[in-house]
């Protein structure tokens, strides 16, 4: 690790100013992504601005909304009573992520901004990685890729967005509060992430120096059932091969309303609008579920290592729908 400066400002404004005026500066929250990548030699900020003491921690109920401070830890959010009651799939996504130790350090803001686990991105000795070195190519496309994306991917980059939390949050239309020197802006999470296209180095709409201060999670109506199903090789402590976040409102055997998103398959957390369309006002039957799944996995971009995910993703969604509607 190279030498770097470290600052711990007392106010949000100071923190934003410090990063905004130094193009080589990064925010530091729990550090479970940032410090890892510094040690690996992928990130080399010359200034780390520690935001962990800023007053951005805690969960507030605001009508039908939960406002979550960006510095709330994953464990803290997972313990929130309202969330447990009203949107248990968010809690499941949190608790199936990482490990207890990590979840006690990792923040909600940091979780949404975590970087891909692509090993070619994380090893600077690999020359070709468009995300790390724009224009250098993509090593993963021709190599070993099991933990990679099949949707939103292209020969330029197949890196997965690996956050579990983001999956139910895109399903719920969460909104990100972004603060800069110019003021605050609100961006729906569904529009926050960018498809890699030709610029996989740009992952989201944040500009340098912008700080996430909070996330609004709209609470689904009482009576909503939800599930987060995470499929992986190991029983715990592993990212998803595929995952499905589903929330439904049922009326007898009919699905009145559905929110669906998938993880483990997309270059961004994947909101499944087509599936929701199929499910709305449809009977909860295997046929419905299969067409919802087929509607979701359209035009996948696969490499040999990820080919199995096409069918696995569909079955994951079908299983999640089966369980949540029964």
């Amino acid at each position: 690790m190279r030498e770097f400066r470290y600052e711990r400002p007392a106010t949000v404004a100071e923190a934003i100013r410090a990063v905004s005026h130094d193009p080589e500066a990064d925010f530091l929250a729990g550090g479970t992504t940032e410090v890892d990548l510094m040690k690996d030699g992928v990130f080399h900020p010359d200034l780390l601005v520690d935001i962990t003491r800023l007053p951005l921690r805690g969960v507030r109920r605001n009508g039908t909304m939960l406002q979550v401070g960006a510095l709330t830890t994953m464990e803290e959010l997972a313990a929130d009573r309202t969330l447990v009651e009203r949107a248990p799939f968010v809690v499941e996504a949190l608790l199936r992520g990482a490990s207890a130790q990590l979840r006690n350090m990792a923040t909600i803001g940091g979780n949404l901004l975590q970087r891909t686990r692509c090993r070619y991105f994380r090893d600077p000795a690999v020359p070709a990685c468009n995300k790390r070195e724009p224009g250098s190519g993509c090593e993963a496309v021709n190599s070993v890729a099991r933990m990679h994306a099949i949707l939103g991917a292209s020969p330029a980059c197949i890196a997965l967005h690996a956050s579990d939390l983001a999956v139910p949050l895109v399903a719920l239309d969460a909104v990100v509060h972004i603060q800069s020197e110019e003021g605050e802006r609100l961006v729906p999470l569904t529009q926050f992430y960018l498809m890699p296209g030709e610029t996989p180095d740009r992952e989201n709409v944040l500009r340098h120096g912008e700080l996430i201060t909070a996330i609004d999670i709209p609470l689904p109506p009482p009576g909503t059932r939800s599930i987060y199903l995470k499929i992986r090789d190991r029983a715990s402590y592993e990212f998803a091969l595929t995952s499905a976040a589903v929330a439904v409102i049922m009326d007898g055997g009919v699905i009145k309303e559905a929110r669906v998103a998938m993880g483990g398959i997309g270059t961004i957390p994947w909101r499944c609008f087509e599936a929701e369309e199929v499910l709305r006002e449809a009977p909860a039957t295997p046929d419905t579920f299969r067409s919802a799944a087929d509607g979701t996995i359209r035009d996948p971009f696969v490499v040999p290592g990820t080919a199995f995910k096409v069918e696995l993703a569909k079955r994951t969604l079908i299983r999640a729908l089966t369980e949540v509607t029964s």
């Binding site: 690790m1 190279r2 030498e3 030699g41 686990r117 090993r119 090893d123 600077p124 000795a125 690999v126 090593e139 021709n142 190599s143 070993v144 933990m147 499929i231 090789d233 190991r234 029983a235 715990s236 402590y237 592993e238 091969l241 199995f308 069918e311 696995l312 079955r315 994951t316 079908i318 299983r319």
Partner: protein
């Protein structure tokens, strides 16, 4: 006095004698040592698999903060050849510009802090002339070595037997590369004092490191002292003198200060070797009722460009089951890959997966219960020589295991048992493990207060050697366990062998046994010179020991304490050296049998998703005399976890074009977590083995073997899918 007494002490599940030191942080592992003035080293590794270094630019690194020295092949010391130790050791690093694999050390940077060393190491720029690399075991240009160890075996006439066999199985089974991954990052702290060198080093064989380092640096063996009283695991990784060790020694010589070199986890993947991938071809011939008439087993494993490896996968087929016709052949292929090396149950783990899968296939083919076919083909005697076994409780392992598991309750049809979305299957595998023992020595000393200590250069890699040897010495000298102090892991002590091959307990135990016998003899002789001693004129054969006293058999009052004998003769201590060498099968007229075992598993496979879960494991083992049941269970349990890893998770993946290991972190290389491991029922059967005086067989490795085929066999029972490649992952089981 050569019989083992004291069942209260021997076999008892006493706690680890080094446990309190470990849990209170007082046990010092190699990376815990920080010496005054110590500098830190960071390695630089090649990023191509084959070629030459055209140019290295070290200027930026040299100017980097805190840097003391940058060593490359251009300014490295010329080192002497590394002598082999059972197998080859890597030749000294940085001696030329040739790149033989991705990850080879090409420079070492020494600085005042670890961070500065690491940062500077990243600033070294390298240009290569890249040559085409051999990375595919099927590449026709790659050198093939047939019968590498002269152990290819044949008896009977396999060709004819296979041609005539009414039933035949002919299949290929593959296993992937695995990495040992001991938790403790291998570390060398090297410090020169004039021409003498001290190393705090992670390894499994201090005397071997001592010998190799002395030869490389051209100093007498006694000038090198290797200290390894504690090491954070090994699983075979510490059985060679890896190149980071001479790098640390060289670096310390260059900067004239002690140097610490601690590998990172990714460096552990390329720097310490790994279990070779294997391809096994098996042909079984059998009668309609399932009796084996022929076994043909061939294997292909991999080798680095300039190393060797002993990995006889096919050997298991020569001693596992009775067959009148057997042929086994092994081959190796040289590639531009990091060193292959021993990993817990080398050769056996892979070969057993192949053989036990094939036997299972045969059982289904002839319509026999997979348990029955193993009992039917049990080898009453060594099938190769016809000699009796030194002991072999494989049959008992299978029978006891089947009862504990409830094997008879299974529905024998495939896909017949289910629970919700899950298909349920039962799998079994037998295990016949190799036997291995090397010469070893130890010294036992009784002090004036009657307590004792035991010394040997061997190291305890966490298996419990400290404890069981204290128990053994206590048992033999008639002391309590806490009256025996163990001193291990120091090359200056009596020469010891490797903590490997499940052979240390027999080797060191026999040496301790020998030393204790000699020591008692010395005490008896001493007492004999004292006409007033109650032991005067008592023949040695009639002596017994208990509670720190020697006495005449059957006459407990006619005796004297060890402390008193010393006092009477004005001695502060009395010591004896003991040696052990393996017995000869010819002389004893028996074949030494390694440990034996049986595995029973219940697996559950999600029918749609292919997700695999191991729900239950019963593992029964014959380890001869068990010196400490609690520690033996630990070994079996750890081995079982490793076996689940081998079966379902572990795979060292190499990029096909660059030879780079693609998953060299704990985030990417999956080992089982707690949630993957069900309750494991562990049991021991069998009798003390006749091949060594203490009757042990060694249980460090066998726990791992057989778990993978039992799981694969269970998956077949559950799903009807025969998976012949490890690890087995859900994509293989999705319909």
């Amino acid at each position: 006095m050569t019989t083992i007494q004291q069942p209260r002490i021997l076999g008892a599940g006493v706690n680890r004698v080094d446990g309190p030191l470990k849990v209170t942080g007082q046990a010092r592992y190699p990376n815990d040592f920080n010496l005054p003035g110590m500098a830190y080293a960071a390695v630089v590794r090649s990023t191509i698999p084959s070629g030459r270094i055209r140019r290295m630019d070290t200027t930026a690194a040299e100017k980097s903060p805190g840097v003391l020295e940058v060593i490359t092949h251009e300014n490295a010391d010329h080192l002497g050849e590394a002598p082999p130790s059972f197998v080859k050791n890597p030749q000294p690093p940085l001696q030329d510009d040739v790149i033989r694999f991705y990850g080879q050390y090409i420079a070492v940077v020494v600085a005042d802090t670890q961070q500065n060393a690491t940062a500077a190491a990243r600033r070294i720029e390298v240009e290569y002339d890249r040559h085409e690399a051999l990375l595919d075991p099927h590449d026709p240009r790659a050198e093939r070595i047939k019968d590498p160890w002269g152990e290819d075996t044949a008896w009977g006439d396999v060709r004819t037997a296979l041609n005539r066999a009414p039933v035949m199985i002919d299949q290929t089974y593959t296993t992937s590369e695995n990495t040992n991954n001991p938790l403790g990052l291998f570390t060398t702290v090297a410090s020169w004092d004039g021409d003498t060198l001290t190393l705090h080093d992670s390894n499994q064989w201090p005397n071997m490191i001592q010998q190799v380092v002395a030869a490389m640096f051209g100093v007498p063996r006694d000038a090198v002292r290797v200290l390894t009283p504690f090491v954070g695991g090994g699983f075979g990784a510490g059985l060679r003198c890896w190149s980071h060790i001479p790098l640390a020694v060289m670096a310390a010589r260059h900067v004239g200060r002690p140097v610490k070199l601690e590998l990172t986890r990714p460096e552990m993947f390329t720097g310490l070797g790994h279990r070779t991938a294997s391809i096994n071809w098996i042909r079984l011939g059998a009668t309609r009722d399932g009796r084996l008439t022929a076994i043909e087993h061939e294997s292909l494993t991999t080798l680095p460009l300039d190393g060797d490896e002993y990995e006889p996968c096919s050997s298991v087929s020569t001693w596992s089951y009775a067959s009148p016709n057997v042929t086994t052949r092994d081959q190796q292929v040289r590639l531009n890959i990091p060193w292959t090396n021993f990993m817990r149950a080398p050769g056996d783990a892979q070969g057993n997966f192949a053989l036990e899968s094939a036997i299972d296939e045969l059982a289904w083919e002839v319509g026999l219960d997979p348990l029955e076919i193993r009992l039917l083909n049990y080898a009453e005697v060594d099938p190769k020589t016809g000699r009796p076994w030194s002991s072999n409780a494989l049959r008992q392992c299978l029978e006891v295991g089947a009862r504990r598991f409830g094997w008879s309750e299974r529905n024998p049809e495939i896909r017949s048992m289910r629970d919700g979305h899950e298909l349920v299957g039962y799998g079994v595998a037998g295990v016949s493990f190799f036997w291995y023992q090397q010469p070893c020595s130890a010294r036992v000393i009784v002090k004036g207060d009657g307590s004792a200590y035991v010394r040997s250069a061997v190291t305890d890699i966490g298996t419990g050697t400290y404890t069981i040897m204290a128990q053994l010495a206590a048992g033999l000298l008639g002391l309590e366990v806490d009256q025996v102090e163990m001193q291990l892991g120091d090359s200056s002590m009596p020469v010891g062998t490797a903590a490997g091959g499940s052979g240390l307990t027999a080797a060191l135990g026999s040496a301790v046994h020998d030393a204790c016998g000699r020591l008692i003899q010395k005490f008896v002789d001493l007492a004999g010179t004292d006409p007033f001693s109650p032991l005067a004129n008592v023949p040695f054969e009639d002596i017994e020991v208990s509670e720190g006293r020697l006495f005449r058999k059957g006459e407990p009052t006619r005796g004297e304490s060890l402390a008193r004998i010393l006092a009477v003769h004005g001695l502060t201590e009395l010591s004896a050296d003991g040696n052990s060498t393996p017995n000869s099968p010819e002389q004893l007229g028996m074949t030494p049998a390694g440990a034996r075992g049986a595995r029973f598993v219940e697996v559950r496979v999600d029918e749609d998703l292919g997700r695999i879960r191991v729900a239950r494991i019963v593992t029964v083992n014959d380890g001869g005399r068990i010196l400490n049941e609690k520690l033996a269970r630990s070994q079996i349990l750890g081995g079982t976890v490793g076996g689940v890893g081998m079966a379902l998770f572990e795979e060292t993946v190499t990029d096909k074009d660059t030879g780079r290991i693609a998953n060299a972190t704990f985030g990417d290389y999956l080992i089982p977590v707690n949630a993957d491991i069900p309750d494991v029922h562990i049991e021991f059967v069998g009798e003390p083995d006749a091949f060594n005086p203490i009757g042990v067989k060694g249980v460090g490795e066998i726990g791992l073997v057989g778990v993978a085929p039992a799981i694969a066999n269970g998956i077949f029972h559950a799903t009807g899918k025969r998976i012949r490649a490890l690890p087995i992952t859900m994509d293989m089981l999705m319909d």
